[in-house]
């Protein structure tokens, strides 16, 4: 598979741009959708999804998120109002052509069970006229981009885990390099650990690709984490608030939004300030293999941090436990309690590191895992206080 000569890949790219390349702003202009049975799923929605940004639609079940999303690629047509892609009313565009210019990812992935992974991913390029070979070449590249090994290429969807299926779904939507991506709860069918991985990789990918993305979720944490802007919908399909995640957590527009955003929103707002900006304390450390009788002298408040030969923290050693023994520091002696916070992570992680550390000092490391310093919970809180006074609460 990996020695296919480069023949028609240029053709894919040329064909991919069915939607005219310019800005790719999606605008909802007082859009209403009433189903034939009378249900009003979306009510007078006005909204703008910006170029290269992630707009998240969030809200309780049945509030019209899916309906709104599916009106963008004309899987559903509005009963009232218009949706614009830049200066074009999408009602005037052919649905199949419109859709080929928009990646579409759904919760259940919806992979074709009879096609291999690589041919699933190549679907849209083939629809657009690419040769099978060119489509497969492109698919292999995408497999790599979404973090899947190339040896999955020949598998069938039934032979993949849920998380892998979701990644293939994303790769398939990206295959024709569409400027717009529509994603309907793409990560909600996988377990929380995999979900976080998928979210992180999604953000990394978006950092590279800069698509205009409309993303539907019912999970406010996911909305806040992924969104450049978040639209909170209430049941009945009405827009409750449209704001940046930070604004949303700080200033919910009404009690519905406040309730939906959740009780611990103050805590979650910590997620927006990087831990690297904290005042850090240097630690006197010991290393694995150091003599135990050197420990007591270097401990602060009864605890000393132990590093390995790469300066990466391994755990805390209680001075009391070490002082009366001979020999060297071994990994078995360490108290492994306490998470590490990375320099690039947020105040939320830093606070968590401090609170979960046996010494009360949260360990902050560089992104490569090397120690920078430690911080206490009260230092984090002081920083939060400063943050609050620096950014006035009123808009």
């Amino acid at each position: 598979m990996d020695h296919i000569p480069g023949t028609a890949s240029r053709r894919i790219r040329a064909n991919a741009v069915v939607v005219r390349r310019s800005d790719f702003v999606i605008r909802f202009d007082s859009v209403t959708k009433q189903y034939p049975d009378g249900t009003v799923a979306v009510d007078g929605l006005t909204l703008e999804a910006d170029t290269g940004k992630i707009t998240v639609l969030v809200g309780p079940s049945g509030c019209g998120k899916t309906t709104s999303l599916r009106m963008i690629n004309r899987m559903i047509d509005p009963t009232k109002g218009r949706i614009w892609l830049d200066d074009r009313d999408i009602a005037t565009m052919r649905p199949d052509q419109l859709r080929r210019g928009m990646g579409y990812v759904i919760q259940q992935a919806g992979l074709f069970p009879h096609r291999t992974v690589i041919d699933n991913i190549g679907t849209v390029p083939v629809l657009l006229g690419a040769t099978r070979r060119a489509a497969r070449r492109r698919a292999l590249k995408l497999l790599d981009q979404v973090g899947l090994p190339a040896n999955l290429a020949g598998r069938y969807p039934a032979q993949l885990s849920g998380g892998q299926q979701q990644r293939v779904g994303v790769a398939r939507a990206l295959a024709a390099n569409p400027p717009v991506m529509l994603m309907d709860e793409p990560f909600s069918a996988v377990d929380p650990v995999v979900r976080v991985q998928l979210q992180d990789e999604f953000l990394r990918l978006q950092g590279e690709l800069g698509k205009t993305i409309v993303f539907v979720t019912h999970d406010i944490d996911e909305a806040v984490k992924l969104g450049d802007q978040v639209a909170v919908l209430r049941v009945g399909g009405r827009l409750a608030q449209l704001a940046t995640p930070r604004e949303l957590l700080a200033h919910p527009s009404d009690s519905f939004v406040a309730g939906f955003v959740g009780r611990d929103r103050g805590y979650r707002a910590l997620g927006f300030t990087p831990a690297g900006e904290l005042p850090l304390r240097g630690e006197t450390v010991v290393r694995l293999g150091d003599r135990l009788d050197s420990v007591a002298a270097r401990a602060t408040e009864g605890w000393v941090l132990v590093l390995d030969e790469h300066d990466q923290p391994q755990g805390w050693l209680a001075a009391s436990a070490a002082s009366d023994q001979g020999g060297a520091v071994t990994p078995e002696m360490l108290n492994l309690g306490g998470t590490l916070a990375m320099e690039s992570s947020s105040l939320r992680e830093a606070l968590d590191a401090a609170l979960s550390s046996p010494s009360g000092r949260g360990v902050i490391v560089r992104d490569d895992g090397r120690l920078i310093g430690t911080v206490t919970a009260s230092q984090v809180l002081t920083r939060i206080e400063q943050e609050r006074s620096a950014v006035p609460l009123a808009r």
């Binding site: 296919i4 199949d96 290429a153």
Partner: protein
């Protein structure tokens, strides 16, 4: 009528059944296979009747099954129609069609090696009867295969910009294929079994010729009648078995390994 008479004759054969041991001898006698009225000719005719009927049934049933399954419109009619046809007696239908249709057919020539001179007027009612039998299993299974396709899969297909025809041909049809082939297999078996009654009509043969025209009237001759009937019936069974194996082979070839067998070993892509 003739079949009923046959049953009577068998019953009246009285003192125990003729020796089954004569059947292998009858089957292994070369002169029973060759010649204008030999088994080989009957077998060839039988295969032709079957293939023609099943092909026509597929041409009718598969498109209807795909469309009804895709649109969901008319599914009620499909189910009712299939059930109604199951209740139709094949022999009666054949005779009825022969009486109604054959007098209106004025073509008495031959069509290549497929239809001998004069046989066309008999062949039409036989094939029509066989098609009527073969359509329901193919139709209902095609329809069921399409309808059972995961809605998320067809939704994704449409959402990626496939037109309705592309959704049917590239997604629903391949996914429905295992069920569809099961329907075709069951149709083939039914047609092979039922095509034995073709020999009752003038100019027609098939393996039923050996049973009803050759064997049955000579039932009282222990060396010819009974061995010919049972021997030809065994050939019918063998033909059904072979056809089933062939279709299973076809299924292996054309059904995607991704369907139905999640634990199948990973098939490596050919570069």
């Amino acid at each position: 009528m003739a079949a009923g008479g046959g049953a009577l004759i068998i019953a009246s054969a009285g003192s125990g059944l003729p020796s089954v041991g004569l059947v292998p001898r009858w089957l292994t006698t070369a002169s029973h296979w060759t010649g204008r009225h030999g088994l080989l000719v009957s077998l060839r005719e039988h295969v032709i009747y079957t293939v023609v009927a099943v092909l026509i049934a597929m041409i009718i049933a598969i498109p209807i099954g795909l469309v009804v399954g895709h649109t969901g419109k008319g599914s009620f009619a499909v189910a009712g129609f299939a059930n109604a046809i199951r209740a139709v007696p094949a022999f009666g239908l054949m005779i009825l069609l022969y009486v109604l249709v054959s007098p209106k057919i004025h073509f008495h020539g031959s069509i290549g090696w497929l239809v001998p001179r004069g046989a066309f007027a008999s062949l039409v009612p036989v094939e029509a009867m066989l098609v009527v039998l073969a359509v329901p299993p193919i139709l209902t299974n095609t329809y069921a295969g399409v309808r059972d396709t995961d809605p998320a899969v067809t939704d994704a297909a449409r959402g990626m910009g496939m037109r309705p025809r592309q959704v049917v041909m590239r997604v629903e049809l391949p996914i429905a294929l295992p069920l569809m082939l099961a329907g075709i297999r069951s149709a083939v078996l039914q047609v092979i079994a039922t095509a034995t009654i073709a020999g009752f009509l003038p100019f027609l043969g098939g393996l039923g010729y050996q049973i009803f025209i050759n064997g049955l009237p000579q039932i009282n001759d222990p060396n010819v009648g009974y061995p010919a009937m049972l021997g030809a019936a065994l050939v019918v069974a063998a033909l059904a078995g072979v056809a089933d194996l062939v279709l299973l082979g076809v299924e292996r070839l054309i059904v995607s390994p991704g369907l139905a067998r999640p634990t199948a070993r990973t098939r490596l892509l050919r570069p």
